[in-house]
Symmetry: C2
Subunit: 324 residues, 2 copies
């Protein structure tokens, strides 16, 4: 493999320049140091992406890097954490060369700038299998202020940021031929490949939202986690689900389309619940970050229901999508 | 795959019981919380293990789990950190069933007990390739007290814990047929499969060692990292290298055997440097943890040299072993 760089070359040329935090020690040590600011706790999360499962082998490496980072930042966002940095464990197949890795590192660099974070360290190993990228992301929250899943209360209103279903439609369009316009296709594929972690919204929702999570497995499946851990029932009004114009152009606006949007994954929006008296605060919080839409309410009980505009429950065969 | 559990089943049955730290939130949230004790910083490190590269497909899952955890704890040990917990990102091929996973979780559980740590969270995904285990480990050190690689000083003495070469010999014996006794084979294979992170020694060396790291790629290669980051030269006396009786039985005690021991990987011992006036403290620190051996000294200059008992440099073709 003449083109395969050594691990030391990789670290020196590509990754050390990304290790901007002082605690990263320029990647010259076994470990890195991180200390939350006074009065803060560390929020930690890990997500692995596997070629052929979470992205395609011929996806641009710059976008693969961004997606790997962003799905982790999205978890921090939903918790109201300020993103600080990440560790990167890369398992590289033989076909990956320096040119691919340079573009991958460029994607990391662009997102470090965009989200104000640093690489803290990592590990690089070879693999006989598919490219596998495991990222652990770190953020800070004031002590006790992380927005949990488990704190939704009956009578809370349910909101979601942005639009839903775009990621799932983008995935479908990137794998199959469909008769849609370039603009529509580009928008949806872009939404799938380059999710936007809603970090500013998450920060603004601290002290306002009772419960939150990021929508990655499908809106209804993820709201099911809030319902289960909080011991409540969640009702979603199908006709209020925010659908992008592009999604409507592909899937329409029937209840079937709405079920599909609410059960396809890869949205990376924030779904959250708010006590009615904080609704105005939530709307204000969103004004400077990401549009939000009220889509339902929390009740006593259990489970998640999708309702039509008459309040009747719409049957949903599978509430989400799993990469497992 | 009738035998393949769902991700939720895995989490509920196998992993939630391991999430003992309050900040792990019983694995019911997108992220976990961790806060260093007052006056402490967090030490973070990540290492991924890939089937076919770092372990063999038919290795016992209990031992694979322990090795994945221990190579990470070994990094914390060398930094003088107190181990706190870990995140686990698992990429599972289709052949992995619940019985395999139960044994894997049992290995994690045993090591959590042994090292006083907790699972904080994780991610499980499928993979079309080999089993891949990425662990991020967390430890605490008093602010400013992490033992660095970059602080070795000329005139420091060089020590290593335990014995070296056993892991490399154990790897060779586990892959090839050799005419050795069962006892010797078992000892060395065990050393390869179940490294012992030297956490107690690392803690005891805080404030005593100037520089330290864990020996994973080969003693000389790893000491090369200390030499490079510290801007010093390190000389190691081949005849003082601590070799186990089992290793001597397989490889002998020639200089060739000593070169091999000093360049094979998977030792997971701590190599460290100490100012001469702290030698007695280092010996005392080791008394209650792991035996240490003085093996050389730090000089002005650069690079690492292995010397024979006449002080002549022994040629070393390759200073270490890389999994990359």
């Amino acid at each position: 493999m003449s083109n395969r760089p050594s691990e030391f070359q990789l670290i020196a040329e590509l990754f050390a320049p990304l290790a901007e935090a002082p605690g990263a020690l320029k990647l010259t040590d076994d470990a890195a140091l991180i200390a939350p600011p006074a009065g803060h706790e560390l929020v930690i999360t890990t997500d692995a992406l596997v070629e052929g499962v979470h992205f395609l082998a011929d996806d641009p490496p710059l976008l693969i890097a961004k997606k790997a980072l962003r799905v982790n930042l999205s978890d921090l966002a939903a918790k109201g954490a300020e993103a600080a940095g990440y560790l990167l464990a890369l398992s590289l197949p033989a076909g990956i060369d320096m040119s691919w890795l340079k573009q991958f590192a460029e994607g990391l660099k662009q997102d470090q700038r965009e989200f104000g974070i640093s690489l803290y360290g990592g590990d690089t190993t070879s693999t006989p299998g598919p490219l596998t990228i495991a990222i652990t992301a770190f953020g800070f929250v004031p002590k006790g202020k992380m927005i949990r899943r488990a704190n939704a209360k009956p009578d809370d209103l349910v909101f979601v940021s942005g639009t839903i279903g775009d990621g799932g439609a983008g995935l479908a369009l990137s794998r199959e031929q469909h008769d849609v316009s370039h603009a529509v296709r580009d928008f949806l594929v872009h939404r799938y490949r380059e999710p936007r972690p809603r970090l500013a919204l998450g920060l603004a929702l601290r002290g306002i939202a009772n419960a939150a999570l990021d929508v990655s497995d499908g809106l209804l499946a993820d709201l099911g986690h809030i319902a289960e851990t909080s011991g409540v029932r969640i009702e979603i009004d199908a006709h209020r689900l925010p659908l992008s114009a592009a999604l409507q152009a592909v899937w329409g606006t029937t209840n079937e389309a709405r079920v599909r949007a609410a059960t396809s994954g890869d949205d990376y929006e924030i779904a959250f619940t708010v006590a009615p008296r904080f609704t105005a605060d939530a709307v204000k919080a969103a004004r400077n970050s990401t549009a939000i839409t009220e889509i339902g309410r929390v009740r006593a009980g259990q489970g998640v229901a999708l309702l039509d505009d008459q309040g009747r429950e719409i049957p949903v065969p599978a509430k989400g999508f799993t990469h497992f």
